[in-house]
């Protein structure tokens, strides 16, 4: 049987010769290296972020002045739908997953994820799912029903165009990628921690990614089923969301938000993780209250499944349900508040260096606190009755998603760029960009709170002049130029830094966690020798051995089966083999999506066959790969 155990005879089993390129485009298409896939995720996210930003810019352009007709209602609906879908599913969430792909194995002392080829498959499915969604612009119009696509707006009779199909199938496909990657991350964190890396020594970013991954595996199925039901409705004539047959459109909202609220935490918890790495490093202090930070993260994740109906306060659930969901939503404020206090306490008494990552982390703290507070406000159902579906809510979730998650990921980007590229991002340009992005952000979204209170519904293509909305919208639109300029500087300086940036060295920030123990960028196999882990901040402890006395007692307990690494002169490290099959399977799904959309039976059968064969070839070719001999004393390959 021995399905996955071939390691020696690479290339025998597959239909295609096993690829071994190490450079060039084919090496990227066949790579299974978690760092390369992480980079692919990050680059793709930034590309989609650019698309989403262009859409946002066009939306603000149309809304600059009242009663403008620059963009027709149809196109406007497509723009805000694609903006939401892009930012949530194709930009911000994959950015977190990209960082996780790159840094979770490095932080726990593993050499790759548990299933490297599955990881590649997850990336390709996500990327091709995004491409699929964007082709809708050229194939009859993008989806125009908003990012949560409330039934029965999506039914065939209300929306005969292809756009909704692109939304449903695109998200379904993207969801598969996210699901497998999350499962992969869980197995990796649970099973591949280096000796001595106990759970209470995991860096907080890893903890948050573990919780996020659990949220993904429990939340995405609800979305997948809801999407599947609409696809069935539109393709095979089922009646899930056909009111004439007695269907209840509210079912979609329940299924969507059972996914959708955890999705908010799927986006923000990795951001918490990044902040929890950046603040200790730049404060030269350990994270304050590590256990409670972990517990509050778990608690937030758990409660994330108990608050979905606060998105539905105005749908007439009744006072009892509204009370229950208001209370559970308030409860989430408690662990979130604890986190903010603990971050501030981490800075307290430290020697805080305000390099660019720390600037973003500070901006995150303020912005996220504001977004959290408006979050408590909209969790008050009587107030929510006024601001639900207005720009107040738009401002609230942009403070959390943009000011929270995006600023945190920018902190992470500046923080980890030297590790990923080996070069530093320019500090001066970084600060200029920061002082454009953050004030620009506030200029865009602060007035939107007021626009909402004064009565501007969301998703309107235009608004009346002279009812108090003109000034807020003008300010908001002006802000896009400021923030956009900042983002362009970030991207441009990243390109500049890749060629001309100063060489970073292994540990430019005086880091604390394991990723700073290896070279920048790390070798294919991550570590020559994984350092002995006997603290939460292993690299910090190596640099300052005298601090061993001051370790956190909780992190002190020794792994029972921990044996000190024997002194070795040479290590043969297994490098998993590259493979075409993840990409082929993903392409099968990609073309299969078009087959489903156009109900083309021939193409459908063909792609199912491709997927089927790719899966078998994938299983039968095994992990493959080769062993690389490393001489730790010489600091690299023998």
């Amino acid at each position: 049987m021995a399905i996955g155990r071939q390691t020696a005879a690479a290339g025998d089993a597959g239909v295609i010769t096993r690829p071994t390129w190490t450079t060039g485009w084919a090496s990227w298409l066949t790579t299974v290296d978690h760092k390369r896939l992480g980079l692919l995720y990050i680059v793709s996210s930034f590309i989609f972020l650019a698309f989403g930003s262009i859409e946002a810019f066009l939306i603000r352009l149309q809304l600059t002045r009242p009663e403008q007709q620059l963009i027709s209602p149809d196109v406007f609906n497509q723009l805000f739908t694609m903006h939401g879908v892009t930012m949530v599913f194709l930009a911000i969430m994959p950015l977190g997953i990209g960082f996780a792909n790159y840094f979770v194995p490095l932080m726990i002392g593993a050499r790759d994820l548990a299933f490297p080829r599955l990881n590649a498959f997850g990336y390709w499915v996500y990327a091709l799912g995004g491409v699929f969604l964007y082709t809708s612009f050229f194939l009859g119009g993008a989806p125009d029903v908003g990012w949560f696509a409330y039934a029965p707006l999506t039914s065939l009779s209300n929306n005969p165009g292809n756009g909704v199909d692109f939304y449903m199938i695109g998200l379904l496909v993207g969801g598969i990628g996210t699901l497998v990657t999350a499962m992969n991350l869980i197995v990796t964190v649970v099973n591949m921690r280096a000796p001595g890396m106990t759970f209470m020594r995991l860096p907080l970013f890893v903890w948050m990614m573990l919780i996020t991954s659990f949220l993904i595996i429990f939340a995405f199925p609800a979305l997948t089923i809801a999407l599947f039901q609409v696809i069935m409705d539109r393709t095979f004539g089922t009646l899930f969301y056909v009111p004439e047959a007695g269907a209840l459109p509210i079912l979609w909202q329940h299924l969507f938000w059972i996914f959708g609220h955890p999705e908010v935490y799927i986006i923000i918890l990795p951001a918490f993780g990044v902040i929890s790495e950046v603040i200790p490093t730049f404060s030269r202090k350990p994270l304050f209250g590590y256990p409670i930070m972990v517990l509050s993260g778990i608690f937030i994740g758990f409660m994330g499944f108990a608050v979905w109906s606060h998105h539905m306060f105005t749908t007439g659930l009744g006072p009892v349900a509204n009370t229950a969901f208001a209370l559970t939503s308030f409860v989430i404020g408690i662990p979130t508040g604890i986190k903010v206090f603990n971050w501030i306490a981490t800075m307290w008494g430290g020697h805080v260096r305000f390099a660019v990552p720390m600037l973003y982390a500070t901006a995150f703290l303020i912005t996220f606190t504001l977004g959290g507070i408006t979050g408590i406000m909209v969790a008050v159902p009587p107030f929510d009755a006024q601001v639900q579906d207005t720009y107040f809510v738009v401002a609230h979730f942009h403070f959390v998603m943009g000011g929270g998650a995006l600023l945190a990921f920018l902190a992470g980007f500046y923080y980890w760029f030297p590790k990923m590229s080996g070069r530093m991002m320019p500090e001066g340009l970084g600060k200029i960009a920061f002082w454009l992005i953050v004030p620009g952000f506030y200029l865009i979204f602060w007035p939107q709170h007021l626009a909402g209170l004064v009565g501007m519904p969301r998703r309107v293509q235009t608004y009346e002049a002279g009812i108090g909305l003109d000034a807020y919208n003008l300010m908001s639109s002006m802000g896009t130029y400021v923030m956009g300029a900042g983002m362009i500087i970030v991207i441009a300086s990243a390109f500049w830094a890749l060629r001309k940036g100063t060489i970073a060295g292994d540990d430019p920030w005086d880091g604390r966690t394991l990723e700073w123990a290896t070279t920048s960028p790390p070798p294919h196999y991550d570590f020559d020798v994984v350092p002995e882990i006997n603290d939460r901040d292993p690299v910090w402890l190596i640099k300052h051995p005298e601090l061993i006395e001051r370790r956190d007692p909780i992190s002190e307990s020794v792994d029972p089966d921990h044996t000190p690494p024997e002194h070795v002169e040479q290590i043969a490290i297994h490098i998993p083999g590259q493979s075409w099959y993840p990409l082929i399977a993903a392409l099968g799904i990609f073309f299969g999506s078009y087959a489903l959309l156009y109900q083309n039976l021939f193409l459908g059968l063909f792609t199912v066959a491709i997927i089927f064969l790719a899966c078998y070839a994938w299983a039968l070719e095994g992990v493959g790969g080769h062993h690389e001999n490393v001489d730790p004393a010489a600091g690299g390959r023998a």
Binding site: G246, R284, Y290, V331, Q386, D389, P457
Partner: protein, 374 residues
């Protein structure tokens, strides 16, 4: 200290933005200036959370800013010094677990009270006005079952009464929202939602659809006219007459009369009557799934709250609906180069404006008296 230097440069701009942002809080759809019991309670709970938030923000951001300036490396001196490696403090952490708990309780108690004050389903009592509101893409059908009145895009209610709105939708989701009187409630097919509101003083209140319904969603507005009891009664009576009286109103001016007669003929000839009743369905003409034009002359707006109801606006709307409200379903009745189009549309407009404006009742009265727009 580049951070601080930069901050000094940006701070005035930021301040200016905040000042500008503070300037407008009122408008016909502003929840910050409520005019009814429900909206007042919703504002009260908001103000309570708002002031609590200010306290929390001042605390959190104050401490944070202190930490930023006190513990930045330039200030603490020695760059390589290692600060005390504190891992946590149980008393402190318990303290700031309890603080949010207290805040949450402070928010939760009035919240629950407000929910049960505003969101409980009510049973109609003597003196309540009941309306069946149905959302359509992109207009509103309002039916008063007690009076047998069907109208569109404009609700009337007497001041001091409670208006109970039963919400339904004919197609996709909509949401009924009159910010100055009450928060929104969604209109969902196969689900009977209800909303109640009341108004403190007469006036015309602005409503808007608050759930994406595609196409002309941005133009799906309506007006709620709150009148003194006798004005409201007159309004009700005028509908009951509309069904009985001869459809041609008594006319005062010969010139107008001819125009109106022409418009009345065109109203039938161009097929308007196929969809739009003008007599509260007395003759069974028109369809219940299209806006009723009964007593149209008494309406305040054209095209579901999009334009003021003047002859000029109405003519533009009839001539080319898409130019006024892009995406709506009203057909354009004339070819682009039809030389008579404007004249014919004007005649229809004149006819429609004559509906319900006969007798002593002037338009000003119908539009909520001297109180004007709220």
């Amino acid at each position: 200290m580049p951070v601080v230097r930069w901050f000094h440069r940006v701070a005035p701009l930021l301040g200016l933005a905040l000042v500008l942002a503070g300037c407008v809080t009122d408008g016909p759809r502003s929840m910050l200036h409520p005019a009814g019991e429900v909206a007042q309670q919703q504002l009260d709970i908001f103000m309570w959370t708002f002031w609590l938030s200010i306290v929390v923000l001042v605390l959190v951001i104050g401490v944070l800013i202190f930490a930023i300036f006190r513990f930045r490396r330039q200030y603490t001196g020695d760059k390589d010094a290692i600060p005390n490696q504190t891992h946590g403090s149980v008393p402190l952490e318990i303290t700031w677990t309890i603080i949010p708990v207290i805040i949450v309780i402070l928010v939760a108690v009035p919240t629950v009270r407000a929910i049960f004050a505003t969101e409980v389903r009510v049973t109609p009592e003597e003196g309540d006005v009941i309306v069946d509101a149905t959302g359509y893409q992109w207009w509103w059908r309002f039916e008063y079952p007690e009076h047998g009145i069907v109208t569109a895009n404009e609700l009337h209610m007497p001041v001091g009464s409670r208006l109970i709105v039963d919400l339904d939708s004919a197609d996709v989701l909509h949401s009924f929202w009159v910010p100055k009187l009450a928060g929104k409630r969604d209109m969902i097919p196969n689900q009977d939602n209800q909303l109640w509101l009341s108004a403190d003083e007469p006036g015309i209140y602005y409503g808007h659809c608050a759930e994406l319904c595609l196409g002309a969603h941005a133009y799906m507005r309506f007006r709620l006219v709150v009148q003194e009891q006798e004005d409201y009664d007159a309004w009700v009576a005028s509908f009951q007459q509309a069904g009985q009286a001869d459809a041609s109103p008594p006319l005062t001016q010969v010139q107008d009369s001819q125009l109106i007669q022409q418009g009345r003929a065109l109203y039938a000839q161009k097929g308007c009557i196929g969809c739009h009743t003008n007599d509260n369905y007395a003759l069974g003409l028109g369809s219940p799934d299209f806006p009723s034009l009964t007593n149209f002359g008494m309406r305040n707006t054209v095209g579901a709250g999009v334009l003021d109801n003047t002859h000029e606006n109405l003519t533009t709307w009839i001539r080319d609906p898409q130019s006024v409200k892009p995406g709506n379903y009203m057909p354009t009745l004339w070819q682009a180069d039809d030389p008579d189009a404007l004249e014919e549309a004007g005649a229809i407009a004149a006819y429609l404006l004559s509906l319900g404006t006969e007798g002593q009742q002037t338009q000003a009265n119908a539009r909520g008296g001297s109180n004007g727009d709220r």
